[in-house]
């Protein structure tokens, strides 16, 4: 695989932690622990492969009995896991960023998130983005509201104007979106950014998704002809 065929920006919908745990008669939170561990592994694997930006979306497709609690729990785990990896992140020049509406988390968690971001603030070679309480529609509406404040009512806004206000501002274009756990939906993840992204769906539950599975996804990506809205002939030119 040549480096041209390595995607610059990969996003992963990490689905299947809960089902994985239930299959083993464990509580869902046990699956989340395994999932966070897997995310750690995947960050390293993506770094090795030369992927410049990785966006992770912790998702659960099952009905959450107490959604707030479970999301808080999952994010708490994420922040803990990331903070203990700060050394590794700094060594590899990884800049950490949370995207999403974190204002709904408790104060302590918000402070931890900001602290974790701060600790890797000066890195630039790789970007690691954690989607926390993120919604694609929220992102667009949020961007529109920001523009509204800056522009007069007569001004026309462009795609670029809006893109600059999205939470993914400054990141490379999204090339590949992977979803594990068998579902074939985007589920309100990076809907604007996924406009031209290749989609890859894996039946593996997230805690089972390993480096080999990532290789399969990357090989699949490399084999596709990316047209960005053009026809096949236009690409050959």
């Amino acid at each position: 695989m040549t480096s041209n065929n390595i995607p610059q920006h990969v996003a992963i919908i990490m689905d299947g932690n809960g089902r994985w745990a239930q299959l083993r008669n464990k509580k869902r939170t046990f699956g989340h622990k395994a999932g966070v561990e897997k995310a750690r592994e995947m960050v390293e694997a993506c770094g090795k492969k030369g992927i410049k930006s990785l966006t992770l979306f912790a998702f659960s497709s099952e009905n959450w009995s107490r959604p707030e609690d479970e999301v808080n729990y999952l994010m708490e785990l994420f922040v803990l896991a990331l903070k203990r990896e700060v050394k590794m992140l700094n060594k590899n020049g990884v800049k950490l960023q949370f995207i999403g509406d974190i204002s709904r988390f408790n104060k302590k968690l918000q402070a931890s998130i900001l602290e974790a971001e701060q600790q890797t603030h000066n890195n630039s070679s790789v970007r690691l983005n954690i989607a926390a309480n993120y919604g694609g529609r929220w992102d667009i509406v949020n961007a529109a509201n920001q523009l509204k404040k800056e522009l007069t009512s007569s001004q026309v806004i462009t795609e670029n104007d809006l893109a600059e206000k999205l939470s993914t501002q400054g990141l490379p274009e999204l090339d590949l979106m992977i979803r594990t756990g068998g579902e074939k939906r985007i589920s309100n993840f990076l809907i604007w950014q996924a406009a031209y992204a290749e989609l890859y769906f894996s039946d593996k539950l997230w805690p089972e998704f390993d480096e080999n599975e990532l290789d399969l996804a990357l090989a699949d990506y490399a084999s596709r002809q990316r047209r960005f809205g053009k026809t096949g002939e236009q690409i050959v030119d």
Partner: protein, 294 residues
């Protein structure tokens, strides 16, 4: 003697309940450090340290190790390691837990090879050094069992687990005492002449009973009951060896009781000797085989 022993136990029991079911994890951790300090004072005596100033130094040094583990590791509610058992990462508490396994093995070898003439392990520095692994590992494993369920918002599930672990030990202890008294004939080990094979086997039987009833009482995740009962049996055996190991140390140092803190029981070390060998094995096996219901 037995009466005094029972009275002390009855007074201590509420304290244990308070420790397990009313206090926050941080306070539990701090109190365990204090208890381990007191145990270390007694261990110092067994390692041939007689001056009380030096005994205090020894115990303080052990406490410093414990405090350092606490200070330099991440939040104690995810001890021994956030990654365990999905992945091995050398987090300090986990390192001490794993290091304790070869030391416990060494303790078993000391018991098995015990005789008056051959005491290859008879070296005060060596005996003292063992405490620097075993006692911090005891501290770490107690906190690690106690914090089960914490992230999930169930603050006292871990307390039940610690109590369960203690019950396994007490069952081995009391079961051995009763069956030994009733049927005891054949001596178990040179190091502890009052113990018999009949007693030990009876004790293990009681441990298995407690272990079996723990499955439903704690909602343990037992997929394979044979595997689970083997683990419980190993814990019972570790309990017996913990007891014998302390006896070997006392015998070598010509001491009857490790202390006199607990009327009728001797010292703290006499009461918690089995816990030293059981706690790390209990935590590591239960977490590795995913038995905890969290």
């Amino acid at each position: 003697m037995l009466k005094q022993r029972v009275i002390t136990a009855l007074i201590l029991l509420p304290a244990v309940f308070l420790l397990l079911f009313k206090l926050e994890l941080e306070i539990f951790s701090a109190l365990v450090i204090v208890v381990v300090y007191l145990m270390a004072l007694e261990w110092a005596k067994l390692s041939g340290i007689h001056k009380s100033v030096y005994k205090s130094f020894f115990a303080l040094a052990i406490s410093m190790v414990n405090i350092a583990i606490w200070y330099f590791s991440e939040r104690i509610d995810v001890w021994p390691s956030l990654s365990w058992p999905h992945h091995f990462k050398h987090d300090l508490p986990l390192v001490f837990l794993l290091l304790s396994l070869p030391v416990i093995f060494l303790a078993i070898m000391i018991v098995l090879s015990f005789s008056k003439n051959n005491q290859w392990w008879q070296n005060d520095y060596f005996k003292g050094a063992l405490a620097f692994i075993l006692l911090p590992a005891l501290y770490v494993s107690l906190v690690s069992v106690r914090n089960q369920g914490y992230l999930e918002g169930d603050f006292y599930y871990g307390g039940k687990l610690v109590l369960f672990m203690l019950l396994l030990i007490w069952a081995a202890d009391i079961g051995a005492f009763i069956t030994g008294k009733l049927f005891g004939k054949n001596k178990l080990a040179k190091v502890s002449p009052n113990k018999t094979w009949e007693g030990a086997i009876g004790g293990l039987f009681f441990t298995c009973l407690v272990g079996w009833s723990g499955i439903s009482a704690l909602g343990l995740n037992v997929a394979n009951s044979i595997e689970y009962m083997i683990i419980i049996l190993m814990i019972g055996i570790a309990s017996v060896f913990g007891d014998l190991f302390e006896s070997a140390l006392k015998r070598a140092a010509n001491i009857k009781d490790s202390g006199n803190l607990l009327p009728g029981h001797g010292g703290l070390l006499d009461r918690l000797d089995s816990t030293i060998t059981v706690a790390p094995i209990f935590y590591l096996s239960f977490s590795y085989f995913e038995l905890f219901n969290v």
